[in-house]
């Protein structure tokens, strides 16, 4: 059972390769069915890993890959990566079920998603910088083809190109930062565990500052934070529903995960030196994301901007974890734990929200909130699910988002009181915008768009859609009510991380 992580990571890719041999004329159930089966098996394996007790990096595998340049195939999970691996497995299973109704070029669609699943899982278990970078880059390539091929027409191609160019620039900046770390370490290595232990750029200096700048910009583009967020709204708006869900729930986490896995433990001195920059960027993202979301009339675009807002809380949390003055270790640990929890919470909730907007588009062929009114009467199940997701997203107690944001604010208050106070205002704005959206779309007199291309009657959630979305919301609620099972996994790892940053 030592190779279980490799099995989890590469199972989808192997199945994708096998599906490519099946002729595209085969019934689409063959492809969607295989995807559902693979994601369920993967999920079961991840649950098995979760239930295996242990501390530190577990299920480690290390095989020499390019020994002359210090690159190895090194994977393993700890309390920071395991929740994200589980989130990935859950989200892809949900998307697989949701996609049972997909009928456009299903073979390529399923193969791309399976490849994306391998890439996402691989990134979160990677313990080698080049392995991490490989998955980071491939996620861009596969998501590009998904948006360009299955998005909404010509604008989707422009959005996909913008997405590729922006995030590719970010990834190459990241690569430069990795190279500086590699050259600073003696002996030269790209291994994450060895680099963390070696702390090659201890003491700061210009090289360390440049490395953090390159890595920080690379991750900030992917996260995204203001001012590197401009690729996000068009990419989200034009992508298919499942693509948006994966993009928001998984791909954005690759940026924030990079901060806790790479930037903080490998450059602790420099991180502490510039932590206040992260705090400021985080707060600006929180407020800017919320205010711009408030101004949107397009429902999907609005949710996209709330992602900027929610990722801002994560950046605020990791920034606060680097400010030693005025905070004790417990506070910094709380902020780190909150940041990781927020990644999971945002993944579940925003994933569900994007799938729900996909349902809306499927029925009405429009994301314009003004085109809809009074849907609650005609589609009660859809309205209920959307309301639950919206309340979860705005941080109502009882949902995962509240647990996460509460911990971030509590942890950050001591070291960055002004920033935290400003960030709390973000919650107020998100509450306003979600309530307004609910009111516009679901309440009032019934009005449906009658644009051409709306052939079907406006149906409520289908069984497969319900089966995809409701479990996400149930999980978000369970984490909100009984968070210990998650926090017990995260807390030891965030304690270790806080110690690494403070050294």
């Amino acid at each position: 059972m030592t190779a279980v992580l490799s099995l989890i990571v590469f199972l989808p890719a192997v199945v994708a390769a096998m599906l490519l041999l099946v002729p595209a004329t085969a019934p689409r159930r063959v492809f969607t069915g295989a995807w559902v089966a693979v994601s369920v098996v993967d999920l079961a394996l991840v649950v098995a890993v979760w239930l295996t007790p242990g501390t530190g990096f577990r299920f480690e595998e290390r095989v020499a890959w390019m020994p002359t340049v210090g690159i190895s195939y090194h994977v393993g999970v700890d309390g920071i990566s395991l929740p994200l691996v589980a989130l990935t497995a859950v989200l892809f299973a949900a998307c697989a079920v949701f996609a049972l109704r997909e009928n456009r070029r299903v073979k390529g669609y399923v193969a791309l998603f399976l490849a994306l699943q391998t890439v996402s899982l691989g990134l979160f278990v990677a313990l080698d910088l080049i392995l991490f970078f490989l998955f980071f880059d491939l996620s861009i390539v596969f998501m590009y083809f998904l948006i360009a091929g299955w998005g909404h027409g010509e604008r989707a191609r422009a959005a996909a190109l913008k997405f590729f160019l922006y995030t590719f620039l970010g990834s190459l900046a990241l690569l430069l930062g990795f190279i500086v770390l590699y050259l600073a370490a003696e002996p030269h290595t790209f291994d994450i565990v060895e680099l963390v232990a070696a702390d090659p750029l201890a003491g700061g200096g210009p090289a360390a500052g440049l490395a953090l700048l390159a890595i920080g910009v690379g991750l900030a583009v992917k996260t995204p934070t203001v001012p590197f967020h401009t690729w996000l709204p068009p990419a989200h708006t034009e992508a298919p529903a499942t693509g948006s869900a994966i993009l928001a729930a998984i791909l954005l986490k690759m940026g924030t995960y990079g901060f806790v896995r790479i930037a903080m433990p490998m450059l602790p001195d420099t991180w502490r030196q510039y932590a206040v920059v992260a705090v400021v960027v985080g707060v600006v993202s929180v407020l800017y994301g919320a205010l711009v979301a408030l101004a949107q009339t397009d429902l999907k675009r609005m949710i996209a901007y709330t992602s900027v807002n929610h990722m801002g809380y994560v950046v605020l949390g990791v920034g606060a974890a680097g400010i030693l003055a005025g905070s004790d270790e417990q506070a910094r640990q709380l902020a780190t734990t909150g940041a990781v929890t927020q990644m999971v919470a945002h993944g579940l909730i925003t994933g569900a929200l994007f799938l729900l907007t996909g349902v809306l588009y499927d029925r009405g062929r429009s994301y314009d909130m003004a085109a809809y009114s009074g849907l609650a009467g005609r589609t009660p199940l859809f309205a209920a699910a959307f309301a639950v997701a919206a309340f979860a997203s705005l941080g109502l107690p009882g949902f995962a988002g509240f647990i996460a944001e509460f911990q971030i604010f509590t942890g950050a208050l001591a070291s960055a009181p002004v920033a935290t106070a400003l960030a709390v205002l973000g919650i107020l704005v998100t509450a306003a915008l979600f309530l307004r959206a609910l009111q516009r779309v679901f309440l009032g007199a019934e009005r449906l768009p009658d644009a051409p291309g709306t052939p079907r009657p406006f149906a409520d959630l289908h069984l497969s859609e319900t089966a995809a979305i409701v479990p996400l919301l149930v999980l978000a609620t369970v984490i909100g009510v009984l968070p210990r099972f998650l926090l017990d996994v995260i807390e030891p790892a965030s304690r270790a991380l806080v110690e690494l940053v403070a050294r």
């Binding site: 020499a64 890959w65 390019m66 020994p67 002359t68 340049v69 690159i71 070029r105 080049i130 970078f133 490989l134 880059d137 491939l138 861009i140 390539v141 590009y144 083809f145 360009a148 091929g149 191609r157 996909a160 190109l161 590729f164 160019l165 590719f168 620039l169 190459l172 900046a173 690569l175 430069l176 190279i179 500086v180 590699y182 050259l183 440049l210």
Partner: protein, 473 residues
């Protein structure tokens, strides 16, 4: 006692190329047109034999043969291996375009002679041999450019010849100047001579020699022939002239600068770094709005030369410089040939617009094209990615971090035009234009193994890097 190192067996791969070219030329003169494939077969056998000889030679220690004029070391072995593999790919790539042609034999022989010149460029350790190799690597390719006798082909050959003649004369003059001020042509002796030479004269001589080599690799400012030759010749010829001479030319620059020119006399790293930056930037900017796929690939090769010149700029100052150069060159050769193989497979689709919706009609070719172009961008896990990784690392290590940043910006810019080509290929909804027919069975079949080897070399870069690891002694 000079006879000790005048052992022809040390040049076995070169002799195989030469022998099969001469025998093939004579044999082809008597063969009927339909049987000329035998010459191609002979060339392939000679290339395989050359590869075996290279593998055997690589196990022996490095040496200088024929006085100090020719180096048999890791860069030479790598040049031989890359060029011979490229010859094999080019032989397969050109079957559909040249089989049964009345000048098929000439095509094969010119390819072999040009490849021989390229290998000699890589191994040359003496300025005079360098000039001779330059001519041997140039003249056959001039003829190859005009091989199909079409109007654009003739124009391409003319342009290729004129720029080659001009820069070749400059190179000869530079050699004379360097000999005059350095009082030697062998690299090691030249290094000692240049240490006390007048700086201005040595600088002029070096720049003139580099001009010839830059013409050979198609880098700025010797790049003017590249777009016209690539666009005006059949894809098989374009693939050859944009791939094979670059390998030897870059290794020659690397060897000349790191062995023969002391850095404290002439600041050549800065010169090469600026040329690298200009080359990649100009190639990328010019490629942006090209509509002809061959012209787009032409500018893309100019920018790729820019990335390769980065390594030349840090030659001798970064541990990774030599493996980076050889690995990137190998990855580039396979990837570029793969991209041209796709173009050769659809000879009637000359513009990006003609490739629209190709994924439906030729799904395997479309995937091969996407992998090749993503490979040229340098996304993992392709070979060029590993190449770029080591090149960037060598650049930062050698003190040219700004050049690595320029390369990164250029890489992102290059995504734009490669995607401009990839995106229409996968568009399925457009009405079908007159469907370009595949050329035959050889070139469409080729991209698949080329692709596989590229992914493999990306994945298993470790072992191949290891054998190129040995530093020059």
């Amino acid at each position: 006692m000079n006879g000790m190192n005048e052992n022809p067996a040390a040049l076995l791969p070169e002799l195989f190329l030469l022998g099969s070219a001469v025998v093939g030329l004579l044999w082809g003169a008597w063969l009927p047109r339909t049987r000329q494939w035998l010459v191609r077969l002979l060339a392939a056998v000679a290339a395989v034999a050359g590869l075996v000889a290279t593998a055997v030679a690589a196990t022996r220690p490095d040496e200088l043969v024929f006085g100090t004029s020719y180096a048999v070391d890791t860069p030479t072995h790598a040049t031989r291996a890359i060029v011979l593999v490229a010859v094999l790919v080019a032989l397969a790539l050109s079957v559909d375009a040249t089989a049964g042609h009345r000048r098929e034999t000439e095509f094969v022989v010119l390819l072999q002679l040009g490849a021989l010149g390229t290998v000699l460029l890589g191994g040359a350790n003496d300025l005079l041999l360098l000039v001779a190799a330059f001519l041997l690597a140039s003249v056959p390719f001039y003829a190859l450019a005009g091989w199909d006798e079409s109007a654009p082909g003739t124009e391409a050959a003319m342009k290729y010849y004129l720029s080659g003649a001009f820069l070749g004369v400059a190179m000869l003059a530079g050699t004379a100047i360097l000999y005059g001020v350095g009082r030697a042509t062998g690299y090691a002796a030249l290094r000692e001579g240049l240490a006390t030479a007048p700086v201005a004269a040595a600088g002029v001589g070096l720049v003139a020699v580099l001009a010839g080599l830059l013409f050979k690799v198609g880098g700025v400012p010797g790049h003017f022939w590249v777009p016209d030759v690539t666009d005006g010749t059949p894809p098989a010829v374009a693939a050859i002239v944009t791939t094979i001479p670059k390998i030897g030319g870059l290794v020659a620059m690397y060897r000349l600068l790191s062995v023969a020119v002391p850095v404290d006399v002439l600041d050549w790293p800065l010169l090469v770094a600026v040329l690298a930056a200009v080359s990649m930037t100009l190639g990328n900017l010019a490629a942006f709005f090209q509509t002809s796929v061959q012209r787009l690939l032409a500018y893309s090769t100019i920018s790729q030369v820019g990335y390769l010149l980065i390594v030349v700029a840090v030659a001798g100052r970064a541990d990774l410089a030599q493996p980076a150069l050889l690995y990137y060159a190998a990855g580039y050769a396979v990837t570029n040939l793969g991209a041209f193989a796709v173009v050769a497979a659809l000879p009637h689709a000359r513009t990006i617009e003609d490739h629209r919706g190709m994924a439906r009609r030729h799904p395997a070719l479309a995937v091969a094209l996407a992998v090749c172009l993503l490979g040229l961008i340098g996304t993992p896990p392709t070979a060029v990615f590993v190449g770029k990784l080591v090149v960037f690392t060598a650049a930062v290590d050698g003190g040219f971090a700004w050049l690595a940043v320029v390369a990164v910006v250029n890489t992102v810019a290059s995504v734009f035009y490669y995607l401009r080509w990839i995106a229409p290929v996968f568009r399925g909804t457009d009405p079908e234009p007159a469907a370009p027919r595949a050329a035959g069975t050889w070139s469409p079949a080729l991209p698949t193994p080329a692709r596989a080897s590229r992914w493999c070399s990306g994945c298993w870069a470790g072992s191949s890097c290891r054998c190129w690891w040995r530093r020059p002694s």
